[in-house]
């Protein structure tokens, strides 16, 4: 007998997993946050998901506070942030670049500060039961700033570019299920991986199940550009700033300023701010704070941990904190000596006292890492037995590996983040008792990014991603461009495939045990901590909340002047 499709009151098909999810929420097997997240990922609108959760948990609908202020229109938000290149959004490698572009070019989906992914340029989506086929209904009536209609051709064009190795986009790792290997070891998009169903419907056909497709579509290099980008005109957004967003580019100078001006005819209605100005205050973090203190800017993109006390002392300044899955990993290339010896890597990892590094290098503001790059705030995080520092075990491992002591190692690290150096200085002391002498090689941030995937031993920062499987797919799966450790383990890939294909939080969490354990035991990384991130605004800025990835969502921001 054919399985009967479940439909909601509007006749729209709902994913068969939804009833089970509701049941889980009722019995307490999943919490409200996880329910909202999964339901909206499966195509239930965020409003409906909140309503469902409210009904199941017997909550009253939130009543708008009477004291809430009425937002004011107008004004210019000035934000202190590095102004970087604005060429091809799919090749961006800094969130600052994506923030400059964020109000010009939009995304198919949008993950809020609450970790829930909602519709954006895609109005709704549906996943097949096996999570291999994803159908996106695109919003109608959206116009590009040049007057063209936004449609399926735009989306197909973007996917085609992202998955073309010649373009050099990291998205090729995010959508690995749409890519195949060629005979000469290269990669290319599988024929028919992206399919135009009609003018406003696009289907993605994946070779492997993937739950995080909607979330991947809000990753920073996935801004949707116009279908003529790189075809009818040069792939350079600054010279051809065509977008669907509420703002247009009015002035742009790398290293100095990026000004955005509200444009007429935005599909989602009016936004509050007339203009958004990004002002580059250079690499000195104290300069942006001085600018905030003297009223030259209203928002500081990122406040370094060393400056949080200073912000708290400035009158009218507000510090914003987000607990995130941002981290740094001391990663070892598994194909370069001496790290090609598993025991050496395990010895290095065994020496780390994670809590101590967190305290010394990041003032305890964050969570401890566990060498498997899945964060306690991730919904699928599985709690493995706590790691403890074990110098004796490290010594034994080194003896088994037959290396001569003292073992001299050199780690490369960028100086852009001060805590990297502090963390590695602490780690150096922790390694010493085991007979490992660690030499630190600090270098300018940009120089580090030249060698980040080449050096045998390096300390690399990774940004927050809403799901644990996302970063594992990007950085640890065999052969993906950002696999900086050259780690290649078929067992890990298989376990990761399985976890990535599992819908339910409980079941996925169970499968993550294996994934996390393999990575932890293979000691590819020594990961000290998960860090909180901070930003600051003046008290005049309303409706702002910090995003864990430092993505700017200023559409609801207004100035109380």
């Amino acid at each position: 007998m054919a399985k009967k499709d479940l439909r909601d009151e509007n006749g729209k098909r709902i994913h068969p997993y939804i009833p089970e999810l509701c049941e889980q929420l009722r019995t307490g097997d999943c919490d409200r946050r996880e329910f909202l997240r999964t339901a909206s990922l499966l195509g239930v609108s965020a409003t409906a998901a909140y309503a469902m959760a409210g009904k199941i948990l017997g909550e009253e609908a939130p009543v708008k506070s009477a004291a809430a202020q009425e937002p004011k229109m107008g004004g210019t938000l000035r934000s202190a942030m590095a102004v970087q290149r604005m060429d091809d959004p799919s090749t961006y490698d800094w969130e600052e670049m994506s923030n400059q572009t964020r109000f010009i070019c939009e995304f198919l989906t949008r993950t809020g500060t609450d970790n829930v992914t909602r519709p954006y340029l895609a109005e709704s989506w549906e996943a097949s039961d096996d999570l291999k086929t994803w159908t996106f209904k695109l919003r109608q009536g959206v116009k590009w700033s040049n007057g063209d209609d936004f449609n399926a051709d735009d989306v197909v064009h973007n996917f085609t570019r992202w998955l073309d190795p010649e373009v050099g986009s990291s998205n090729i790792g995010l959508f690995s299920g749409m890519v195949e290997e060629t005979a000469d070891g290269g990669k290319r998009m599988i024929d028919g991986a992206v399919e135009k169903i009609d003018q406003h419907t696009v289907r993605l056909n994946l070779s492997a199940p993937n739950l995080a497709v909607p979330e991947n579509l809000y990753n920073y290099p996935t801004a949707i550009v116009h279908r003529g980008f790189g075809v009818d005109y040069e792939a350079d957004l600054a010279s051809n700033p065509i977008g669907t967003g509420p703002y247009e580019l009015s002035e742009f100078r790398v290293g100095e300023v990026c000004r955005l001006r509200k444009r007429a005819g935005y599909w989602a209605g009016d936004v509050f701010l007339d203009e958004i100005h990004y002002i580059d205050t250079g690499d000195d973090p104290s300069a942006s704070i001085a600018a905030l203190a003297s009223g030259q800017v209203d928002h500081v993109h990122e406040v370094d941990i060393s400056a949080i006390d200073l912000i708290e002392r400035i009158p009218n300044a507000v510090l914003h904190e987000a607990v995130t899955a941002q981290t740094g990993v001391a990663r070892m290339q598994v194909d370069k000596a001496p790290f090609d010896n598993l025991k050496v890597r395990q010895a290095v990892a065994a020496c780390m006292d994670h809590a101590k590094v967190l305290e010394v290098a990041y003032r305890g503001r964050g969570k401890i890492g566990e060498n498997h790059h899945v964060c306690p705030i991730h919904p699928e995080y599985f709690q493995l037995p706590a790691l403890t520092r074990d110098v004796e075990k490290a010594k034994a491992l080194l003896a088994e590996a037959g290396v001569e002591l003292p073992l001299r190692l050199k780690i490369d690290l960028g100086q852009a983040d001060a805590w990297h150096l502090a963390a590695m200085q602490e780690f150096k002391q922790q390694l010493e008792p085991a007979g490992i002498i660690l030499e630190l090689n600090p270098m300018p941030g940009a120089s580090y990014w030249d060698i980040w995937d080449k050096t045998p031993f390096g300390f690399t920062s990774w940004t927050h991603r809403p799901l644990g499987v996302m970063v594992l797919n990007l950085g640890y799966r065999s052969g993906v461009p950002w696999n900086e450790s050259n780690y290649a383990n078929p067992a890990f890939d298989a376990a990761l495939d399985e976890a990535s294909a599992t819908l339910g939080a409980k079941e996925r969490q169970a499968k993550m045990e294996k994934v996390q354990k393999i990575l932890q035991d293979d000691a590819v990384i020594a990961q000290p901590l998960w860090r909180s991130v901070f930003s600051a605004t003046t008290s005049m800025v309303k409706g702002y909340s910090i995003h864990p990835t430092l993505y700017h969502q200023f559409e609801g921001v207004w100035l109380d002047t």
């Binding site: 050099g168 104290s286 300069a287 600018a291």
Partner: protein, 310 residues
Amino acid sequence: MLIFITRRVASMVLTMIAVSMLLFAALEVNIENVAVKVLGPYSSLEQREIWLERNGYFDPIYVRYARWLGDFAVGDFGESIRFKTEVSEVMVPRLINTAILALCVFAVVIPVALVLGVLSGMREGSKLDRSISVTSIVTTSVPEFASAPLLSVVFVFWLGLLPGTSGMAAGFDPIQLILPAAVLIIYDFGYVTRMTRASMAEVMTTNYIRTAVLKGLPYRRVIVRHALRNALIAPFTVIMLQVNWLLSGVIVVEYFFAYKGFGALLLEASLNQDIYLIEACAMVAVFVAVMTQALADIGYTYLNPRIRFS
């Protein structure tokens, strides 16, 4: 004099050629490195080969050097990797900004330092001399990286009187020049004062000044007519050398106050390994260095008759 100037210019050109060779050797000999910097770390080997071929990087090294030098001589510095535009388009406004800052600094430092130096050197060991000397030694010994945060704490965070950064994002604003200029003035005026004082004090001990005093000339006339002319020759050279310092030595101040000047550009270029920009900045800095030195020498010769007529 003409022979002297010709000689100076020739040695200037030679110095610059020597530096350009070093620069070329450091940055352009390893062509693989150039291609990686220009095309980015994710470029394929094939792309790099094509780019190198198209830009003549496979020519013999002397051909490449000659072409490179020729381009430089006519002001074609290539395209900046970070700014994605002609190097000169980035560099010229930055040079102008630094020149504005330098002018503000000179406008205060030169009169203040000369007056204080002369007053101080006129009567060596007097109370006035001691207080000026102590002040100038103290201010000169505080480096910019200490005085900049200090001034910032007082005037930006505490008193709230001055803007914290000087990026001029909303157009030129003279108020924003105050803090960076103040830091440079505090550091520099003491040094020039000390040099002027030394020169003045030396002149004051010479026989012709003693004669002038003894023959009964008014003290004021002795100083203005006789002493100053000779005492100011040495400070002239010192001041010329400050031009060089104000161009590339202001990195700390420009970085701290986010001032978009030449020093900050030099730092940005090296942090981002923007190779054509580094080359252009380095050559400009060297040009200004040798130029000011040559001008100082020529001016010194002109001002000092003992050298002029020897």
